[in-house]
């Protein structure tokens, strides 16, 4: 998720190590995903977390500690690639919240809020992206089947951007 990092240098280190671990130009042989954080370092040939799990006959979901393991045992089952995103997002929580070494109830509460915020953000982002992607594909389909300017003479005429 492209947003401000509390520790951009550490975030850069994670990114660099992941890229290094999978090698230059690596992509999932099944779905073509090239994001280093989504690729399984040990897979040969390279596969993303989801395709790797499917290939291994495992489920493509994982349990996610929504408030961080140190703050609450509550887990939710989410897609494996979303789990990676949410886990990465936990690195960007305010310092001390994720680790909460001495079990501070306030930090635990902060963990809940941060986790919930990440989760909602993921839902919104994923949901909005899904709809946007759906609309783009529908537009392409209509161009193929109803002409380049399919909206002409339909109820959508007049919806064009000014």
């Amino acid at each position: 998720m492209a947003r401000r990092s509390n520790d951009p240098i550490k975030a850069g280190v994670r990114q660099s190590k992941r890229q290094r671990g999978v090698g230059v130009g690596a992509a999932c042989v099944d779905c073509g995903d090239t994001r280093p954080e989504m690729l399984v370092r040990s897979s040969r040939p390279k596969r993303c977390l989801k395709c790797y799990a499917i290939k291994k006959g495992k489920k493509a979901t994982e349990s996610h500690h929504i408030a961080g393991e140190a703050n609450s045992p509550i887990e939710v089952e989410i897609p494996i690639r979303d789990h990676r995103k949410l886990s990465d997002a936990q690195y960007e929580w305010p310092p001390g919240v994720g680790s909460n070494v001495d079990g501070s109830p306030l930090l635990a509460a902060a963990g809940f809020l941060s986790g919930a915020a990440d989760f909602v953000e993921l839902l919104i982002v994923n949901g909005i992206r899904y709809v946007a992607d759906f609309l783009r594909k529908l537009d392409a389909w209509l161009r193929d089947h109803a002409g380049q300017q399919w909206w002409k003479g339909t109820d959508f005429d007049g919806w064009q951007p000014a």
């Binding site: 401000r4 990092s5 951009p8 240098i9 280190v13 660099s16 190590k17 290094r20 671990g21 090698g23």
Partner: protein, 1017 residues
């Protein structure tokens, strides 16, 4: 041998082509792995105290990702006072970070040194980002925790800095062996090799090579880091040394440097200054990388060390592999060619007598002679071969040499050849120690005489040097052997390229050297380019032309081995010799001695041709320097009084000045040697320099020249009253025209902390006025002790200073790359009981001149770092005190520095008091010393960091040509064995072995040598 002349016997220093043992590691390093520039950039700069230890006070850093500043912070030294720390804390509370508004961390952070180092480790090692700075060695050693000698062979002779430490539980800080150290090997003032060392139990992810496509760790892999020193990159792109301020100016960085009243004291302004430096460094990095990318070459910017690296990358891009990589050439020919390699012609010809001159300069000398000889064809040839030459053919060719013949460009195409001559008074370049005072090798053009007619005593020369000798003596040298270099076919691998995205080059049909020079000139008339782009492109082409036309073919890398290594040397003899040396040299990738010897030799021929043109008209010259000559000339010409002159004026010796018109006519003759497209470069390759013209009126003006010795000269003007005015940038000329050679290393005596070099101009003006017999005022600083500034650039320089560091924490110690002071001991001014030849004083850096005479100075040669006081005024040294030179002494020596490689009017070697017209010396070859390249450390010798030039040359001993083999062994062999046994006290068996060539023990060698000497009498 000419009658009536007794040549001075001298040992000649001859370059050899070395072949050290093959180096697998080195080859591995040469292979560039696939590399993409990291998106992350960690930029930092430090400020330090101005005391002797120059410890870290504070610094600042910025972290960039894809050009966005995401984090900024300050950090402070471990022993910063509470008050200073409070100032930094107050500063971060009242100032925000200059980070990206959307993605950056908003607050300005204040970190401890250790916290900062965690950032550096994360960004530079774990994250493999660029570590960017200006003069990184200095900054890295400020933030270090300890230092030692680099053990890694690659960095041998350099420092190893320990940055990361840990608390062992007892409060003691220990070096963290799980983190790398940073090894730094100083090359010269612009370059240093830097890299992370290996670590204990490295994390597998750290063992994944850069650019790996598999992501597999490799056990032996060491990540060396991406250290981007902008001082080096600016040098790569401009071929000149820069400060941060000058680099920012040259590359139009808007955020230029600020100035600060006082360094070393923490104030908000000083913190602003430091932050601005980091900002400017980051902006400069972007500009330099942008410029670098325009070259579009497959070379990482971090290991790019010089313009030559850029030049080599362009050749590679054009599909031109090094000649010696694509084919085999018998090594002995490489040795012959290397032995014929000499630098440019530089000398003072009229010494210490101011004369009116016209200053001339050849247009891009090396590319021009390259082009004239057609050397590009060797680089792109399918096959380059050595053809043993026909001696009589060479002699016949030389017999035809006249100035007219040499003004025919066709003649130059026949010059790529070499010949072995038995010199007998021929005027040839020689490299030798001409004066006992200056212990360095100088190249001179003198009358040379071989020991005998035996071909073994002959020397190899490039054909242009022999043509020059014919021009200057009128006779052909005795030639005993010859070979030519031939090119056949064209490489099939050649590829077209576009230089810096603008200038297309097709190497198969265009002469690269010529095209680059032509395109530079065409730029001025290209309306499609902005002024900025034109300026940049001009600079880039200039750098490329220089980088590819000479240096890369001469490249020798001097290595520092941990023990002696055997080197096979190819020199003047058909068979190589082998010797063990500590500093072996390895020919560079594109090294090809025949080309480089031909290039410099042809440049000397060009100057010889100019000399001949001048002397044919009865004229002479004041000085020459590689591609320039100051010809004695006035508007109308005529006689001028000058010691040593062959003419008489009012009963006094005089020389003939040519008229400006005659000089212009000579320049016109060189138009015939213009190898360039006349539309782009019309006219002559010999230019009457801009200095000769008034910048306002553009009318020619009368220049004057005062030359003392090679590279020590000034050009000046005289007003109607005869008062001199040096040529000064922005005053009366486009650039300063007084030499700093030999003075540039000294601190500004008026204010040692200021780089202002006006004092050198004052000194020169004073010298000029004295030579014109005009009244001079004493220089205000002449009684001050002359002190130079140098750097602790290697463990060898640090060694004697160890005593000053003993028992001190890192903060208080003299650290690697600290500045230190160096002074010059007067003749007989050394302390009593020391070896005057090995006595050199250095001291921790101190900017207050008043303290220089009260502080203790360390003898750099003493094993235990013995310390002395210095005095500028005492009559002699004592056991604890040395008498050193003042600025006045140094300037006096400078003014009287003899041009020992030349002869005075009487034919004797030029001495301090010699004046006027100098001539060529007559030199008899009295043996050979085989040497390596002139090292990069010559810069440090001048600064006083490395005491002697002999410490920077590699000498290759050829036992067959040594004194033992050539001088005293023949005498011992001729002596009856019984007598030799009696006189030496050695056994018959031992003497048999020694006479058969075995090396005797040192004490026996000394005794046998004295026996031979006595017997020889």
């Amino acid at each position: 041998m000419a009658t009536g002349i007794t040549p001075d016997p001298l040992k000649l220093a001859i370059r050899v082509y070395p072949e050290p043992p093959s180096d697998e590691d080195d080859r591995e390093q040469g292979k560039l792995r696939h590399w993409r520039r990291p998106h992350q950039m960690f930029v930092f700069d430090t400020e330090c105290k101005t005391d002797t230890a120059q410890a870290l006070t504070f610094g600042s850093y910025r972290y960039y990702e894809r050009g966005r500043c995401l984090e900024e912070g300050l950090f402070c030294g471990d022993d910063l006072t509470r008050a200073d720390r409070a100032k930094l804390e107050a500063y971060v509370k009242t100032h925000g970070a200059a980070t990206d508004r959307r993605y950056g961390v908003p607050g300005l952070r204040l970190l401890s040194r250790r916290e900062f180092l965690e950032k550096l480790y994360d960004a530079g090692f774990d994250g493999r980002g660029l570590i960017v700075g200006f003069n990184l060695p200095f900054d890295l050693s400020r933030v270090a925790f300890d230092f030692g000698n680099a053990k890694d062979r690659r960095f041998a002779g350099g420092f190893s800095l320990a940055l990361w430490d840990w608390d062992d539980g007892s409060g003691k800080r220990r070096i963290n062996k799980h983190r790398p150290r940073i090894a730094i090997k100083h090359i010269d003032s612009k370059r240093a090799l830097k890299g992370f060392t290996g670590t204990l139990d490295a994390d597998p992810v750290d063992l994944i090579p850069e650019g790996s496509e598999t992501g597999e760790p490799e056990d032996k892999y060491k990540f060396r880091g991406h250290f981007l020193d902008l001082r080096t990159l600016a040098f790569v792109l401009t071929d000149r040394g820069h400060s941060l301020a000058s680099a920012c100016k040259a590359f139009d960085v808007q955020q230029g440097k600020l100035t600060v009243e006082q360094h070393g004291v923490v104030t908000p302004e000083y913190i602003d200054y430091n932050r601005r430096d980091v900002e400017a460094t980051a902006a400069l990095a972007s500009k330099l990388l942008e410029e670098y990318d325009r070259f579009d070459v497959e070379l990482q910017e971090t290991p790019a060390f010089s313009p030559a690296s850029l030049g080599k990358s362009h050749l590679r891009k054009m599909g031109i592999a090094p000649i010696l990589e694509r084919q085999t050439i018998e090594k002995r020919y490489l040795g012959y060619a290397e032995s014929a390699f000499f630098g440019g012609r530089t000398s003072a010809h009229i010494r210490k007598v101011p004369v009116p001159v016209v200053y001339t300069d050849f247009l891009s000398m090396y590319p021009t002679v390259n082009s004239l000889m057609g050397l590009w064809k060797y680089l792109v040839a399918e096959e380059v071969s050595v053809v043993p030459g026909d001696v009589s053919e060479t002699v016949d060719f030389l017999r035809t040499i006249t100035p007219e013949k040499l003004f025919d460009p066709q003649t130059w195409t026949r010059l790529p050849a070499f010949a072995r001559v038995i010199p007998d008074g021929d005027v040839l370049p020689t490299r030798a120690t001409y004066s006992v005072e200056s212990n360095d090798y100088q190249v001179a053009l003198n009358h040379l005489y071989a020991k005998s007619d035996d071909p073994k005593d002959g020397l190899w020369y490039a054909l242009p040097d022999l043509a020059a000798s014919v021009l200057l003596t009128g006779r052909v040298p005795t030639i005993v052997d010859a070979f030519a270099i031939k090119a056949r076919g064209t490489l099939s691998s050649l590829r077209k390229i576009t230089l810096r995205g603008t200038v297309p080059i097709d190497p198969s049909i265009q002469d690269f050297f010529r095209t680059v020079i032509e395109e530079r000139k065409r730029l001025a008339n290209n309306p499609a380019l902005s002024d900025e782009e034109r300026k940049r492109l001009d600079k880039a082409l200039k750098v490329l032309a220089n980088a590819t036309s000479y240096g890369i073919f001469a490249e020798m890398r001097r290595e520092e081995a941990l023990k002696d290594v055997p080197v096979t040397c190819y020199g003047i003899d058909p068979h190589p010799f082998t010797c063990d040396v500590r500093n072996p040299e390895r020919p560079g990738e594109y090294c090809f001695p025949p080309l480089v010897s031909l290039i410099t030799s042809a440049a000397r021929l060009m100057l010889a041709l100019l000399e001949r043109c001048v002397t044919d008209l009865g004229g002479t010259y004041a000085m020459e320097d590689t591609d320039s000559m100051a010809i004695v000339a006035t508007q109308r010409g005529g006689l001028i009084e000058c010691e040593g002159g062959t003419h008489r004026k009012a009963g006094k010796p005089a020389i003939r000045a040519l008229s400006w018109a005659q000089v212009a006519a000579i320049a016109k003759r060189f138009e015939a040697l213009n190898p360039y497209d006349r539309d782009a470069i019309p006219g002559s390759v010999l230019k009457i320099e801009e200095d000769n013209f008034d910048p306002k009126t553009e009318h020619q003006r009368q220049l004057w020249c005062l030359a003392i010795s090679a590279k020590r000269y000034t050009l000046f003007l005289r007003d109607k009253d005869g008062e001199p005015a040096l040529l000064r940038e922005g005053v009366n000329n486009k650039e300063d025209r007084y030499s700093e050679h030999g003075l540039g290393h000294l601190l500004n005596p008026a204010d040692p902390e200021k780089e202002y070099r006006n004092w050198i101009a004052q000194a020169w003006l004073s010298i000029v006025r004295r030579s014109l017999r005009l009244p001079t005022k004493p220089l205000r600083f002449q009684k001050r002790v002359a002190v130079g500034r140098t750097k602790v650039s290697s463990p060898a320089v640090m060694k004697p200073l160890k005593i000053l560091n003993s028992g001190k924490t890192y903060d208080k110690r003299i650290k690697p790359f600290n500045f230190i002071l160096s002074c010059h001991v007067r003749k007989l001014g050394h302390a009593i009981g020391v070896d005057p030849e090995r006595f050199h004083l250095v001291a921790p850096y101190e900017t207050d001149p008043r303290k220089w005479e009260t502080m203790r100075w360390v003898d750099q040669y003493s094993k235990d770092g013995k310390r002395y006081r210095i005095r500028g005024s005492a009559l002699h040294g004592s056991r604890t005190m040395a008498r050193v030179k003042s600025y006045g002494d140094v300037l006096r020596e400078y003014e009287y520095h003899p041009e020992a490689k030349c002869a005075d009017a009487t034919g004797a070697p030029c001495r301090k008091q010699s004046l006027g017209l100098l001539g060529r010396r007559h030199i008899a070859i009295d043996g050979f010393i085989f040497i390596g390249k002139e090292s990069n450390k010559l810069e440090e010798v001048e600064e006083g960091g490395v005491p002697s030039e002999s410490d920077v040359y590699t000498i290759f001993n050829d036992s067959q040509r040594g004194e033992r083999a050539t001088k005293w062994l023949p005498i011992l062999k001729a002596m009856p064995m019984a007598e030799l046994m009696e006189r030496s006290g050695l056994s018959r068996r031992a003497l048999y072995m020694i006479r058969a060539g075995r090396r005797p023990q040192p004490e026996n060698a000394a005794s046998l040598k004295s026996i031979a000497k006595e017997q020889g009498k």
